[in-house]
Symmetry: C2
Subunit: 283 residues, 2 copies
Amino acid sequence: MKTYLDCFPCFLRQALEAARMAGADEKRQRMMLDSTMALLRDVPLESTPPEIGNQVHRIVRQLTGNGDPYAAVKVESTKEALRLYPRLRALAAEDGDRLERATRIAIAGNVIDFGPGTDFDIEETLGSILYQPFAINDMAAFRRVLSEARSVLYLGDNAGETVFDRVLIEALGVPVTYAVKGGPIINDATVEDALAAGLDEVAEVISTGSDAPGTILSGCSAEFRTLYEQADLIMAKGQANYETLSAGGEQLFFLLKVKCPVIARDVGVPVGSIVLKQGRGQR
Amino acid sequence: MKTYLDCFPCFLRQALEAARMAGADEKRQRMMLDSTMALLRDVPLESTPPEIGNQVHRIVRQLTGNGDPYAAVKVESTKEALRLYPRLRALAAEDGDRLERATRIAIAGNVIDFGPGTDFDIEETLGSILYQPFAINDMAAFRRVLSEARSVLYLGDNAGETVFDRVLIEALGVPVTYAVKGGPIINDATVEDALAAGLDEVAEVISTGSDAPGTILSGCSAEFRTLYEQADLIMAKGQANYETLSAGGEQLFFLLKVKCPVIARDVGVPVGSIVLKQGRGQR
């Protein structure tokens, strides 16, 4: 997905949030905004938003000297999600279609933001996601591709969300490789975060080799790229994976809650939608 | 109120919206964002947000050659509000405290956005504003100052909202001067817009002499400033008037719906609050 001008205000917002998360004072926060604005002046709109976001967060880390501003948030998110895990697992095992229930729970993990100051009702979120109709529902195709897959490559998203992914992984019935970031970026899960969430108990946890948001294949390790090229089924979690992989081939399935109006327009659904969308064309 | 760094993303958002409203293509929209970012690099945070917003909108008008991008929106807003007027008037006349009901209706006018693509439920908005508790309720002080006032200076806000203000003006029981912008800025009412809304039937309609958002006294005409200095009671409508007049004296009353998190923090209330707030100190 290309970058839209509507993303520009959002890049400033992200830079400011990350600078504050890194403990920067107002003067340094403003330096962050200045550097971000200098970046945006020359940025090609053909880049995907996570490619630009990656540069923004690189500037934050350089200017603040804090290599992992979201470290505490990630630890807290994982802890909170682990506390919920028995309940999530029981929810997936209730009557009905287990694969669909587990898919919905994994998407609920994409909604929940455990960041400080956020005030969400976990019961309400789970309740609504379990029954909200999919705006795009490629569940039949997903079942078909899964039934023929020897294994699954699962592209993770945020720390904490990992635990919700685990519930879906347990419902897939085939060996899963769970790919996470090669280094800290926003609140995305790294190998360390995935291990803290116990994902190694249900999947092989690997790094993509890249610390950019989403999955920018050109920045990933050769090893990961080979795995990606050969995977029978790839599950891509969250908005940034959609933004970076967009079309991507029929073996690719995007699982996300659409939170951003620009992505909503690109996907062709309203903000707030939940989506299970098969990729198109060649990978 | 000073400008916060949180306002920076919002200035970009405003610039983009106004550029599109002015019919600019993507290339020119980007030029708008570039110019806005250049402006923000050097802007002193001691300025009020409307002072900076004023410069942003000035750039839009220069770059697009469109001196009044919101002209059609304003005409449509006024038309739509006039259609509602008999109902608003009947609502104010219902049982209960007429001044408070009319004050609430005036605040409802500050909520309603008739812009294209906005989808709001007028019944729901009116219903909630009529019964929503004030987060700050200086109604007693307002009644006291009003009871001793020979006349009222009413600082208007947007086109369309004017009609809702009219309902309150009719409940005040003293002569009212209704001050609007000296030239087009966003969807703020000008003299032309106020006359189209029939405000001259209930008040003396005047221009502040300034085409900046809010009321930046230093940019207003000498005539308006004298009026402001001598007014027994000033009613300031909407967020921009709060941002530019902040403290402002005990004869000043702010009427607004708080829509922005930065203003919410400055006022000390949650976003979504309705506020009738007396100014403090000297004008």
